[in-house]
Every structure is written in C-alpha cells, then in structure tokens.
Subunit: 312 residues, 2 copies
C-alpha cells in the first residue's frame, strides 16, 4: 500500500463518502458526512473538517469529487458534458470550487426517444470500469448501472455514445413504501429469489404488455392465495426489473455486443443478471464502489500530470 | 321528486357517502362519514347515527351499500362473484350484516395475463351504466373506469366477461407526491391540457417502449428547458394515461365494439377521452356518481321485489 496521494470523494444527494487514496486509488482511510442536500451550502467547511485528521501526516492533498456536489444544489456547478464523450474529456471537464478540489462533470445526451437525458456520478463509475475491464475499451458495449435511476449506457470504442434512464429503483421504493399493492414489510429483508424470478418470468410471458397492467398482480395474486404477502415486494421487483431489462435490450442491444456489464452493488447486479439470463443474455458484474474509486483515481492522474499547464 | 324509499351508500376505504333516495334512485338528501379503514369496526353505529335524522319522516328504510364496506376490512365480507356475471347475479349476491342493510359483492376474474383480478365498487357503477346507457346491453362493449386503480371491463350482451386493473392513478399520486421526477406543486391545480397532450403524443411515438424508460423525461425535459416545472405533473399524467390506454386497447379492443364507455368524474374521463382520441378511438362518458346511484337503486329494486321470498 502506497503513500497518501489524493482524496477521492463520492458526494451524492444524501451521503458523502471520502477516501484517502494512494496514487493507484487504493484506499488508506475513509470518512463520511452529510449529502449535498443537507450540506446547507457549507461544502468547504464539511470537506475541511472531514479531511483535517489526514493533514498532519499527509499534508495538503488534492481532491477529486463526483456526484451531486457538482449539480446546481452542489458546491459548484460542473455542467453536463454532451455525449459522445471519452474519458479524457470527462477529466478535462472538471470544475474547481477552489484550487485543491476538482469536481467531475455529469453527462448529457439525447436518448432514443428524442428526449434529453442526464447522469451525474455514473460517468465516474464508467470511467473506472473502462480501466478495470479492458474489454470495454473496444467495440460496442452495453453497460447497465442499476439503482434508484438505473442508467443504460452504450459505449463505442471506450466513448459513451448515449444512455437511457429508468427510475426502476425509485418506483420499487415508492410502491413498497406507500402502495396498497404490496404490504409494508415490518423489517427490511433480502429479496426472495424465487418470487423475484417468478415476477421476471411472468412478465416475460407478455413482454409487449404495458407494465401498468401487470403491477396489480402483486396484490391480486396475494388476494388469490398464489403469492405469500411477504414475497409480494420481491414479485414487484421481478416485474420492474424484467420490464427495465426487456425494454432496454429491445432498444439498445445488438447481436455480438457481448454481455451486459453491470456496474453496482452485488445485490442489484445479481437481480439484473437473473433478468438478463431470462433473455439468454450474459452479464458481467463490476463492483460499483471499486469502479467509482478507479474513476476518481484516473481523473486525479489526468489532472495532476500536466502540472505546468495547470499552474500556468 | 318521490317519497323516500331507500338509503344508498358508497362506503369506500376513506369515505362514506350516504344518500336518501326515492324508488327511482333520485337523491332527496345526503350525508357523509368515515371510510371503512377508519370505522374502527363501528359500522352499525356510524350508519345509524348518519341515518337517524331521516327516521322521523321516512321511518326505517332498507339500505344498499357498495364498496370496501363489503371487504375483509368492512362491515361484513361480501365475497367476490366470479365473471362472467350478469346484473341480477350481482344483486342476488348481496350479503346482509343485518336485516335492513344489503352489501353488494365485488367481482373477480382471471385476466389476460392468467392472473386473478378483483374489483369492488365498480360493479355497482357498471350495473348503473347498463341502465343509463341501453347500448351497453347488447354486443361486445369496452368500459373504462379511471381512478386510483383504473379498471377496464369487457361486456358481452350486458354480462361482465373479464376486466383488467391498472394502478394508473396511484402511480400518478405517488410520483407527484414523493418523486424527484416532478417538483411537488405547492398548490393543487388542474392538469394542464397542453402538457398532458404532449405526454400522450410523445408516448404514442414509441408505443412499444416500456413506460419505465419514458418516466425520467418528466425531469430531463424540465432540466433541458423543454418543459416548465409546473407542467411536469401534467406531462407525467399524459405518459401514464397513454400507457394505460395503449396497453388496454391492444389487449381488449376489437374492431366494431364502438366507443369506449368512460365511467368516472368528468376530469378523469376527459383525460382518458383525449388519450383514446389519439388512437382514433371514440369515447362515451358516463357520470360515475350517477352510475353508482343507478346501480344501487337497481339492486334495491331487485332485492325488494320478491318480498315474500325474502321473508320466507
């Protein structure tokens, strides 16, 4: 493990995670703080107070941050870079609220529906995945970053060509929390794999149906005695992920583009891998946290190399 | 206006509405009370206290109630009648928690997705619509009852053959209230017709896409400056209703079945009529409250006619 070289940070809407890293991006220490929505404008102060304990030993270190910290509710606005975008453009698009801090920009595109689309934070994970998975750098590759707003991204020779957002995780959370379609579970539990698979497979039987006409099944199959109340959320998750995967594959998949690269937590990538498998489509998981760190380290390297140019 | 003949009631989850009616179902007076979810088991007491002021003049009157009052959280469980079901079967399926009160059963079916489906309350509106709109009694007719859980029902010669539920209204409410996709409006306002139409028309450009991949547009078009923040909810409503209408027409519509009969509030039936028109499909609105009353009156007539049989 090397010497402390920079501070990497993922500063989202609701959480801040800071990492003390060596030059290769290996984590030496970490800390956490309030998200951008709760920072009350005190970004500089929060950052300094969290990094203060690293100062005595490591001195003043440069920082690279990604996420909502670069949005209009963030420390400084790092405007969206239009697609197609290559990794170096993303690094070069960083905006500095002060000399030692760089914030990674998000990406924008016009998606398949002639609608604008945006992402912020995922660009850094994609950057990192390009380093961690050499196969991503050549040809046409399909990425999926499952989450609150799942992002499907198309890479061509390492450039982000376009992407598509689906609020799959948000819809799942809203329906699980507030809807009469699934009973509110008293305790959070892992998604039941069998009920999830059942949701996927039932959805796939009528892939051209609209999701709206399948959601009531979470309740009606329960009322009809076919589905245990505690499995309704997993069935719902199966319907949602199946709809997301089916729709994205129909729009973005072309033969010969290989597996879908799933960047995220193991829990989510496993669910998406199951739904992809139901279409005979391979999945290649990439750890989301590792990808973010690798991306931040890459941005740090790019920024710190041409020192003269930056000081000029 | 005739003499008071019976009490009609729509006792849903969150509201109770009682009507003092003449024999033809014309309303002489009305009252309201707590929904089935808030009745705390005191259905009989609530009913008696609300009808007490009608007693001195009208004497003891029979009552017909529909809605969640007949569910497992209700006064008494009035089991779902399986489809196909004709109006007389629905009236004959009433369950009486006490001698003077009759509660209308809901309907069940197996829908197009081989899933059980259920409705409760809408059966009474369908009954009433059959009386108010003679054309519904012959041939194959498609009904839509838009709401929290929109119901699409297929009638064949006046019998309910099958139906399909879509939680369109619930999804709209959840996303409007809790999602970052649309800004929470400080005041409830009427849906902007132009933004609604824009959502319908944008959806219809890609009818085979999954709804999930269109929802993010409510936010991204706003961020991209194409959609005013105060119109995002109307755009969302357009996407949702378009998805509901497109999906239901593909599944249930056959040529020559005429217009879709829309039973509900004028606000909702107008939105659905717009989405139907975008498919070149006619719409025939039926007032939802009038249909419910006509249905309750019909059940009352059926129950009170064979007095001897009932007393036997």
């Amino acid at each position: 493990m090397g010497e402390a070289s920079f501070v990497a940070g993922d500063w989202g809407t609701s959480h801040l995670r800071l990492f003390l890293c060596d030059a290769r991006g290996a984590v030496l220490d970490s800390g956490s703080g309030p998200g951008a929505a709760d920072a009350g404008g005190g970004f500089s102060e929060i950052f300094d107070s969290l990094t203060a304990r690293w100062q005595p030993r490591s001195g003043a270190l440069p920082a690279v941050l990604c996420g909502m910290v670069g949005s209009t509710i963030g420390w400084i606005h790092a405007p969206y870079l239009p697609c197609p975008a290559v990794p170096d453009q993303i690094a070069d698009g960083c905006v500095a609220p002060r000399r030692d801090v760089h914030i990674v920009p998000g990406l924008s595109c016009h998606n398949r529906f002639a609608a604008p689309d945006f992402l912020r934070g995922e660009e850094t994970q994609i950057l990192g995945a390009l380093l961690l998975v050499p196969a991503l750098r050549n040809g046409r590759r399909l990425l999926c970053l499952p989450g609150t707003h799942t992002k499907w991204a198309v890479l061509q020779d390492g450039a982000v060509q376009e992407f598509l957002s689906a609020p799959t995780g948000e819809l799942f959370a809203l329906l699980s929390e507030h809807s009469v379609l699934v009973r509110k579970l008293s305790q959070k539990s892992a998604v039941d794999a069998d009920a999830f698979r059942e949701g996927v497979s039932r959805f796939n039987e009528y892939p051209h149906a609209q999701l709206l006409h399948r959601l009531f099944e979470c309740r009606s199959r329960m009322l009809g005695g076919e589905l245990a109340a505690e499995n309704a959320a997993a069935y719902l998750s199966g319907l949602l992920v199946a709809s997301d995967v089916h729709g994205a594959l129909s729009l973005l998949s072309i033969s010969g583009s290989g597996p879908v690269y799933l960047i995220g937590s193991s829990e989510l990538t496993q669910l998406y891998a199951m739904a992809l498998a139901s279409h005979g489509c391979g999945a290649s998981p990439v750890d989301g946290a590792a990808a973010a760190l690798a991306g931040l380290a890459q941005v740090h390297r790019r920024i710190s190399q041409p020192v003269a140019a930056h000081d000029a």
